[in-house]
């Protein structure tokens, strides 16, 4: 286990280091002065410029410069945004939770919908229910996310007026920023009319979450179904039937665990797909998350922000993936045979 943990941590550190190197190189590759790209100060005076050059160790070669950059990055000094002149790291801390919240709820819903449907389809292999679920999931799988989001807005928000079109919370309410997760913030905040605010926040969440989770649910259904079919046709399930166990006993004791545990990493991978989809959704729903922030930064050629956003999102994905890997290792005995990381 210790060797395993060491290997995974090793992988984590090296991947993050490579990401840092990539983001450092980015500062030199994109147009403009590397000093401005790194610091985010658009027009430094001669005095400031000399100070910044010293701070980023630009005159001492790339290796020393990267070492300095690494130290600053770890200390949370990611430069200023070119457009707003806010510290990039603070901006990311403020916007990332909104994206995470959206992706998390979407993931939860896709698992809640996808796993039972996938298991059902897998157990009724080649029956009517299987075909039905499969074709619905194929449809959900093939629909482009942005088109689906627009369609949902058109129907539920514009035509029926049931749900709000965009945003995270109605302008009437003001919730102080604490954790960044809206529902938690509302519960923590000391405001009057808490239930009304909560209700409003949930109504804002419905459409983005729905349009995100449909694609992921379809993926989860397909993964689960395939795994359940494979497991149910395996020898040990037949042996369990031969022992004289009932369908329910066979399924719950032998089928479930073997079907779901191996696909856990793949399911967790869906979270990263979700995060990328969430960026598109955020733009459509004007959701104040990292995706919208990053796309604005790209429009405005705000290179410090692009660099920071890229680093933050990719580190998040890497950390999440490796954390899931370690958790699965703890609960799935068969994975104990593998020492090397799998992609």
């Amino acid at each position: 286990m210790l060797i395993y943990l060491g290997r995974r941590l090793n992988l984590l550190v090296i991947t993050l280091l490579i990401l840092c190197i990539a983001s450092y190189i980015l500062a030199f590759l994109v147009p403009g002065d590397p000093l401005i790209n790194l610091s985010g100060n658009p027009s430094p005076s001669a005095d400031q410029s000399a100070q910044l050059r010293l701070m980023y160790a630009l005159d001492q070669g790339y290796v020393a410069g990267f070492w300095q950059y690494l130290k600053l990055t770890l200390a949370g000094n990611w430069g200023l945004s070119l457009t707003s002149q806010n510290p990039v790291f603070q901006d990311i801390l403020q916007f990332l939770p909104a994206s995470l919240e959206l992706s998390f709820y979407a993931m939860l819903i896709s698992l809640l919908v996808g796993l039972p449907l996938g298991i059902m389809a897998g157990l009724k292999h080649r029956k009517f229910a299987d075909m039905g679920i499969l074709s619905v999931s194929l449809m959900g799988f093939s629909v482009p996310v942005f088109w689906l989001a627009l369609l949902l807005i058109l129907i539920f928000a514009l035509q029926w007026g049931m749900l709000p079109i965009s945003g995270r919370l109605s302008l009437l309410y003001e919730v102080p920023h604490q954790s960044g997760f809206m529902l938690i913030d509302i519960l923590l905040a000391d405001i009057s009319d808490k239930s009304a605010v909560l209700n409003d926040a949930i109504r804002h969440l419905v459409l983005p979450t729905l349009s995100l989770s449909i694609v992921t649910s379809a993926l989860v259904i397909r993964l689960t179904r395939r795994s359940v079919i494979n497991v149910m046709s395996s020898d040990y399930i037949k042996a369990a039937y031969a022992k004289g166990l009932s369908h329910a006993q066979v399924f719950w004791r032998h089928g479930m665990k073997n079907a779901l545990l191996p696909i856990m990493p793949q399911l967790a991978m869906q979270f990263t797909v979700l995060l990328t989809n969430a960026m598109i959704i955020e733009v459509i729903f004007s959701w104040p998350g990292i995706g919208e922030w990053l796309i604005q930064a790209i429009y405005q050629r705000d290179f410090p922000a692009i660099r920071g956003g890229m680093l933050a999102v990719s580190s998040l994905v890497v950390i999440f993936t490796i954390a899931v890997d370690i958790i699965i290792r703890l609960i799935y005995p068969l994975s104990k045979r593998q020492f090397h990381a799998q992609v």
């Binding site: 080649r126 046709s233 395996s234 020898d235 040990y236 037949k238 042996a239 369990a240 039937y241 031969a242 022992k243 004289g244 166990l245 009932s246 369908h247 006993q249 004791r253 032998h254 665990k257 073997n258 545990l261 799935y332 005995p333 068969l334 045979r337």
Partner: protein
């Protein structure tokens, strides 16, 4: 009355080329306290018979039989629950290849615990049952020759060597104290000493507890010592069945003759570098089954009539299915 009585069991498999009869009119019966050997080369459908008896086949495959009775009750027409009760309490099976038939994500202790029926535990509180199951499992493991029971019970199948898994599978089958043990190649991959130990255990259980055994194997040497009766299978058809001693002394079917000849012999007068006798060719695949007697293309005595399926003929309790059996003169 025989314990298990199967008449004309046919198993059809849906392949790309249509339905194929993987088992064609199999007859098999096992009396109580009988050890019956089921012999045939690989691919002859031995394991399929075992799986169709315990009902561990995919739903898509068609199983039909004129008669498939367990103590006079029809297995095919009874409800799932009734059939499960029989396989749970009276019949046990050791399937081939323990590494794939044991659940990879459960410890062996959990798996053997499942096989112990509640009726074997004396009345106690529910928290005492766990300990009782453990004791029963432990005793059974000792019987099949696993000494380090703690390690075995707390391990996952992939952590143990194959022969230990194989012995464990036998222990798991015997733990519910069945009337009939169906053992599909139970000594596969074992060392000779452990093999003898397991065979001796089975023979002892047969003598003392009256356990009937359907012993599926292609190891003729191991079988001939303990089996009373034998059924020979070729390519999904029963070719000959009868008392072991009778078949060994005077086989009637050319295939049985070839099978017996192919067992390595250790006669003194064997000339050095003598060729091992065997039939020409290999067993046909399911997609290219010959019509009539399936041995036809390989049979040394085959004639024109062999394209028709021979009827089962009988001399006392010795059954065979051949147009030109060995006891008649050369045609």
């Amino acid at each position: 009355m025989p314990l298990l009585d199967i008449k004309n069991l046919t198993l059809e498999i849906d392949t790309a080329l249509g339905w194929v009869k993987a088992l064609d009119k199999i007859n098999l019966s096992i009396d109580s306290k009988e050890v019956r050997a089921l012999v045939g080369e690989s691919g002859s459908g031995k394991s399929l018979i075992v799986k169709s008896i315990v009902g561990a086949l995919p739903d898509r495959w068609r199983v039909t039989a004129d008669r498939m009775n367990w103590k006079g009750r029809d297995l095919l027409s009874m409800s799932d629950t009734q059939r499960r009760n029989i396989t749970r309490n009276e019949m046990s099976v050791v399937l081939q290849n323990p590494t794939t038939t044991l659940d990879p994500s459960a410890t062996l202790g959990e798996q053997i615990g499942e096989s112990i029926p509640d009726s074997m535990l004396d009345k106690g509180w529910f928290w005492q049952r766990r300990a009782q199951r453990h004791t029963i499992a432990m005793q059974q493991l000792h019987k099949v020759g696993i000494r380090n029971h703690e390690l075995c019970l707390s391990s996952y199948p992939h952590q143990l060597p194959d022969d230990v898994c194989q012995k464990f599978a036998i222990a798991m089958a015997l733990v519910s104290d069945p009337k009939l043990l169906i053992a599909d190649n139970p000594t596969m991959g074992m060392e000779t000493t452990t093999k003898i130990q397991v065979l001796r255990l089975l023979a002892k259980l047969n003598k003392t507890r009256g356990l009937s055994i359907l012993f599926v194997s292609h190891d003729l040497l191991a079988i001939s010592a303990m089996a009373d009766t034998m059924t020979v299978l070729y390519c999904g058809q029963t070719v000959e069945s009868g008392r072991m001693s009778q078949i060994k002394r005077r086989p009637l079917h050319p295939y049985t003759q070839a099978l017996l000849d192919s067992a390595p012999s250790f006669r003194r007068d064997l000339p050095p570098k003598a060729a091992l006798s065997c039939l020409e060719g290999t067993i046909p695949t399911l997609q290219h089954l010959p019509i009539g007697c399936r041995l036809g293309p390989r049979c040394p005595r085959a004639q024109k009539d062999c394209v028709k399926m021979p009827a089962v003929r009988r001399i006392h309790d010795h059954h065979y299915a051949c147009h030109f059996p060995l006891h008649r003169d050369k045609p």
